[in-house]
Amino acid sequence: MQDIKYLFEPRSVAVVGASSKVGKLGHTVVDNLVSSRYRGKIYPVNPAGGEILGIPVFHDINSIPGEIDLAVIIIPAAAVFDAVRGCADKGARFAAIISSGFSEIGNSGEERKIVDYARAHNMRVLGPNIIGIYSSAAPMNATFGPGDIQAGNVAIVTQSGALGVAMIGKTRVENIGLSAIVSLGNKADMDEVEILNYLAADSNTKVIMMYIEGVTHGESLVDVLRKTTKIKPVVVVKSGRSKRGAMAAASHTGSLAGVDKVFDDIARQCGVTRAEGIQEALEWCKYLASIPEPQGDDAVIITNGGGIGVLTADACEKYDINLYDNLPDMKKIFADVVPVYGSAKNPIDITGQATAENYLTAINAALGNKHIDSILCLGCESGVFEPDRFAIQAEQLFQAGKVSKPLIFSFVGGAAVEDTIQRLKIQGIPIFNDVLIAVSCLGAVYYNHRQKNEPPAIYENVEIDEAAIKDVIDAARRDGRRSLFSYEARSIMRAVGIATPAGNIAHTPEEAVGYAQDIGYPVVMKVVSRDIVHKSDAGGVALDIDNKEEVTDAYEAILANCRRFNPEARIEGIEVSKQVKHGIETIVGARRDLSFGPIVMFGLGGIYVEVMKDIEFRAFPLSKGEAYRMISEIKSYPLLLGVRGESRRDIDALADAVVRVGTVLKRFHDISDIEINPLVAYEHGEGVSAVDVRILLSGKEVNA
């Protein structure tokens, strides 16, 4: 197992495919290494030999004296395997393959061959199809992008090479310093999980930005993201939100994006900040790295215009920023700067008469008050406001180190205002010409602050009757079925500890009548058939059965309907079960997601679930606390709290059910999907009931 430190801080770098011709990528990589003041040994490799930038060129890998920590390979695809073999045989620790022409164009076989050989010789592969790697720790720019990367404390991990190159240039313009740029490319061997683990521990990195198109080892990624976001912010831009985007992403690197909603929910679960686009992500990263963390939740808005103040207040609600609302206190704090015709109510309106000095007074008042935790300072160009004077005062404020809490500016105006914005921005002062971006930045700061300070999740060990569950699965397997009958699925629910209505399978009308009388009316009757999955669609369900006559009629109707629906259906019987009393119908599910592994789902259930789609996803494992939060995030949550005089529902039982369902999926790899719809929620203290349960087994038996 190689120490990833040698990828970021190699003592020696071989450039296989180095070129003396300016303009060639093989020349650019060597040039960048030199210009980045890399302190280790550089070994250009080219059969032609010679010299590049005064460095002797080796004819082949074997000629290189000493060890190679990192080999950067930049030759045609057809020659890459031989180069990898050479590097691996030489004992190189890492190979960063810039060359393209592998799985992204369907050439997966060659890619696998390369990785297999590398791994067999204890060498790790980054890429192929990457731009290279940059690390400020070395320092080392082993990319073919722009050479003048500014060192700093934002790390970028990107699945897109072109975006990676573009972001190098963009960060330079935006004055964002980087601690690392890692291009993942085809992720044939190394992926974001290992890179994140390194960056989480890297003292040079304060913020991590990721551009993702597809997720492969989702379970591991979730795990490392959860740990990383407790240490430093992770900002993600993920493409493939739309179907078109997903298709384009798929063709770009041969990866398939998961369902975006699932990703979005899981990203929040992991504490990741998700940006809409690159610009937003870079803005957030820049300021997350430099803005002090707030000590509390209360923000104030200082503005010289009422309209822009209201806009900002609206945006604060969107980004979950709490506005300080103690009016008497604010009147005292801002007494010196709010005129009679202004307003000390948040947003603090210091009016269009405010000068640069007035702004400074208001800002200092806010900075000096212990009840105010963050400040949004807005302004519209006016006749009395002098942008130049304001810029000087703002610079002095920051240079004096007096800004101990988040302070973000947004000004709107003409050329003078724009010049001021650019002047301050270059110095790293958070200022924007768009109030929404300003607020979103503060929102990102608060989001990270909150989730970082959340207590760690406690995963309880849920007790379930594993032997009973295994028996049911084994019986279905012997029967050659992947789909469990509803009574089997419900027996698994009972083994898991989730209440289900009592029921029995009747094979004759007489049995049906007997069971109905034992269970007690009203009862529900449903067909049991491996060939009829959606019973309602086949006319295989009868509800509210109140007496013996109705039992026999329902029995008859279900059989007739199902035989007509599918004459070849094997009908095992008709299940007679207790009709549950009315409650709020929810849906709880769990499945093995292709990207993320075991995930759980909760939402508003019933027959309209596919129309309303009011559901939330989380990766498993999930603590009960996380399950509570998941439940509270559905739009229909107020229904569970009780509306229009109705009582609160048993949310505790719902959260418990979510965790238990996830536990079954996690422990039994034989199960691929579980869905309870509806899981009826009763009043607080009265629990829940799993009325209809569907469980699918995986395609082939897998040992748990």
């Binding site: 004759t508 669609d537 009629d553 029995y555 008859e556 109707a557 007739a560 309907n561």
Partner: protein, 347 residues
């Protein structure tokens, strides 16, 4: 109380239509029971037979449809009734429905042996009620002859007033009378009528189709009484459909998947489209359904696929509804012109 029991050798021979024709042609007051149902409808926790409901509607009977059928499925019937129970139930039903009527029409099960194991076969009914029995026979001509001779040779009519047979849905009546009738008469069978095939009577209504398929009506509800004569499966492209003669047949039903907006629009625009069934539980956009609403073209939604839907429709028996006065008039005319009603019902 006089009763006429109508049985058949096979399902879908036309028993209900014959009864409707006889009831109209005789002009007498009558009752109707169908002890053994075969077109089950389950609504409001009760089971009833579609034909029974049809008859109560057509003739304004005051009886509830669920009260003129004893049951459908063997398992339930054997559970509920022994021989005496079955007999008593039929007699009670007959009394309730037929008392003070000129005639009680009793429709037998789908074929001659159906219901034998729970004492409700057509021959059992005839014995319980002591009424006249007529057997309806249809199908291919040679098959008809075989069935009729079978009836004569092997069915025991002891205790039953067996009036004879009526041949139904004959494609070429003249040919039948010349070639096949003599064979049956030679065998000593009393042929009381030869009813010609009528294409109009093979239509089915969308209302019935909706119930049969357990479909949801998602547009054009006002047009549910439309009748269907042809089925077109919209699987290929619209261009192919336009060049297919079947797409331009009158009273056609188009079956297509709900995501085929192109086929749906083409269907709604075609004047020959009577109705549409959309499959796979895929609802098209609302603006497309609005076009169906505007033209009162009923659109049904089913969860199953196109192939399965077409298969089920293919196996459906065409039925009429109370609103189909033309078809009802036609049945009356067919009976009046082709059946010896006097020989059938006298005595």
């Amino acid at each position: 109380m006089k009763s006429l029991i109508v049985g058949s050798m096979d399902g879908n021979a036309g028993k209900t239509s014959l009864i409707i024709g006889l009831a109209k042609a005789t002009g007498k007051s009558f009752g109707y029971i169908k002890p053994l149902g075969d077109r089950l409808v389950y609504r409001k926790k009760r089971v009833w037979d579609y034909d029974a409901a049809l008859m109560t509607n057509i003739f304004g009977m005051t009886n509830n449809p669920e009260d003129i059928t004893v049951g459908f499925e063997h398992l339930k019937m054997r559970f509920k009734y022994d021989e005496e129970g079955a007999r008593n139930r039929v007699l009670a039903m007959a009394k309730e429905v037929g008392e003070s009527k000129d005639m009680l029409f009793v429709e037998g099960g789908k074929d001659i042996e159906y219901g034998l194991s729970f004492y409700l076969s057509v021959l059992s009914l005839a014995r319980y009620l002591g009424g006249k029995l007529v057997m309806l026979v249809g199908g291919e001509e040679n098959y008809i002859v075989d069935n009729v001779i079978f009836i004569k040779k092997y069915i025991q009519f002891t205790g039953i007033d067996f009036r004879g047979v009526i041949i139904n849905k004959v494609r070429n009546v003249d040919d039948f009378k010349t070639v096949y009738l003599p064979m049956m008469q030679k065998a000593g069978v009393n042929v009381l009528g030869i009813i010609p095939y009528q294409a109009e009577l093979t239509f089915f209504s969308m209302d019935y189709l909706a119930q049969y398929l357990l479909a949801r009506v998602v547009a054009g509800e006002e047009g549910l009484d439309r009748r269907i004569n042809n089925i077109f499966v919209g699987a290929a492209s619209v261009d192919s459909a336009y060049s297919d003669a079947r797409f331009h047949q009158e009273h056609k039903l188009v079956v297509t998947s709900g995501d085929r907006s192109d086929m749906l629009l083409a269907s709604f625009e075609d004047r020959c489209t009577a109705a549409v069934v959309i499959t796979n539980n895929i609802l098209p956009p609302q603006n497309i359904l609005a076009k169906a609403d505007a033209k009162q073209i009923p659109v049904l939604l089913v969860p199953i696929g196109v192939y399965e839907t077409a298969r089920q429709i293919e196996s459906l028996t065409p039925l009429i509804t109370a609103k189909n006065t033309e078809e009802i008039g036609l049945m009356e005319k067919l009976v009046r012109e082709n059946v010896d009603i006097n020989a059938l019902m006298s005595g």
